[in-house]
């Protein structure tokens, strides 16, 4: 059955057809036959409803949804109009004394040239710790959702997206080392310039995904052994909690700490920020790659 582009677009829009179909060949044949269905911009009511109600719902739903969006735009624009002008140095958000303090004494107190890194990994480090735990919790939930099912696919290799394409493979071969290297650079320079654990970890995770897509999980498993995923994340989070708990305890009680700000601008400076950046980067990279592996049903 050859269908036109418009038909396929409409089928995709109503959820009967995915773009992934072109990549993953669905072999089990359990998919229900495609039904002729009119594509509309509305949900259909479920249960016993009369034809009139159904038609009314079809008309009213998109109209009311559009109206709701328009009312929201109008309300929010009214608020935006009252805001201080864009780029205003005297607006309440930009002239609070906390921000002045962060900029004026951040360099001497944290040793980080990048003030944002000083804020998120020193002044507000517990916030970032909670953030890493949110990511970890999400990874656990995805683990539970995708691994706890009873019907495992017979042949996992059928479901994996392996791009068997020469150009893609060669490009990935030349590009992936540089992506991994750049990710490491961004993590290690988080306290000296733009970057940090989250962005660098995302870069490394993306590089690993590229390797896995091009050469299969066996090659990417050689770079990072996926079985050690849980161990890496656990050790990183534990190190983060212990180190930051120690430094907060000492800082709050005025005790002597072994972590000094050091000379700003050196790579081994800024006290705890560099190790914490590495820990966060490991968590993020492992979680990104773990998500990819789980969603494509490779071995974890």
């Amino acid at each position: 059955m050859k269908k036109s582009f418009k038909d396929r677009l409409q089928a995709w829009d109503s959820g009967q057809f995915e773009l992934g179909d072109a990549l993953v060949r669905e072999t089990d044949g359990r998919r229900p036959p495609e039904k002729e269905e009119d594509v509309s911009w509305a949900h259909v009511p479920v249960g016993r409803v009369s034809q009139v109600e159904r038609r009314l719902f079809r008309v009213l739903y998109p109209v009311l949804a559009g109206l709701l969006a328009l009312v929201m735009i109008a309300f929010l624009l009214f608020v935006v109009e009252q805001l201080p002008a864009f780029g205003d140095a005297l607006s309440p958000a930009n002239s609070s004394e906390v921000i002045k303090r962060y900029i004026a004494s951040g360099l001497t107190e944290t040793g980080a040239v990048n003030i944002v890194a000083g804020i998120i990994l020193d002044y507000r480090a517990f916030d970032t710790l909670g953030e890493s735990h949110v990511l970890f919790t999400a990874a656990i939930v995805v683990f539970i959702l995708l691994l706890a099912e009873t019907e495992l696919p017979d042949k996992p290799s059928d479901r994996r997206i392996l791009m068997d394409d020469l150009i893609f493979k060669k490009t990935a071969f030349f590009l992936s080392p540089f992506i991994l290297l750049f990710g490491t650079y961004v993590i290690l320079n988080g306290h000296l310039g733009p970057g940090g654990g989250f962005s660098g970890g995302a870069l490394i995770g993306a590089g690993l995904i590229l390797v896995s897509m091009a050469f299969g999980p066996r090659v990417s498993g050689r770079i990072v052994a996926l079985k050690s995923y849980r161990r890496i994340v656990l050790v990183s989070l534990l190190f983060y909690s212990l180190a930051k708990g120690y430094s907060f305890f000492c800082g709050a009680n005025g005790l002597h700490t072994i972590f000094r700000p050091g000379t700003p601008g050196r790579i081994f400076s800024a006290g705890l920020i560099l190790p914490l950046n590495i820990a966060v980067g490991l968590v993020v990279a492992c979680t990104m790659f773990g998500f990819y592996s789980l969603f494509t049903r490779e071995s974890v």
Partner: protein, 127 residues
Amino acid sequence: MLTALWNNRIEVVAVILFAVGFSTLLLHRNLLKKVIGLNIMDTAAYLFLTSLGYIRDRLSPIITDGATDPEAYVNPLPAGLVLTGIVVSVSVTAVMLGLTLRLYKRYHTLNLDEIYRMTHEEQEAER
């Protein structure tokens, strides 16, 4: 009114993006597109936050030449807040996609109405 809106045009774009994401969430039946709509709404919130922290004619908050004058740099706080927001939205997206995958494996469709219909029929059959 219009000049005030023009002065805050980045925030206006953020508001419009938010509404685009919201209507995507409401009007599409494909579960994946609902996830995309929610992500557009997240992006709008980040754009709004970062635009609030911008100060004209100032440097990004990375200390250059040892100058620690607060008048020299933009507001560094929204950048930290947006970083937190991005991580949370990635986590939420992953959980949503995991749930979507489970639904797809059970009902073999991404159409939310079809899924509703099938669950309704299952409940009717149980009764």
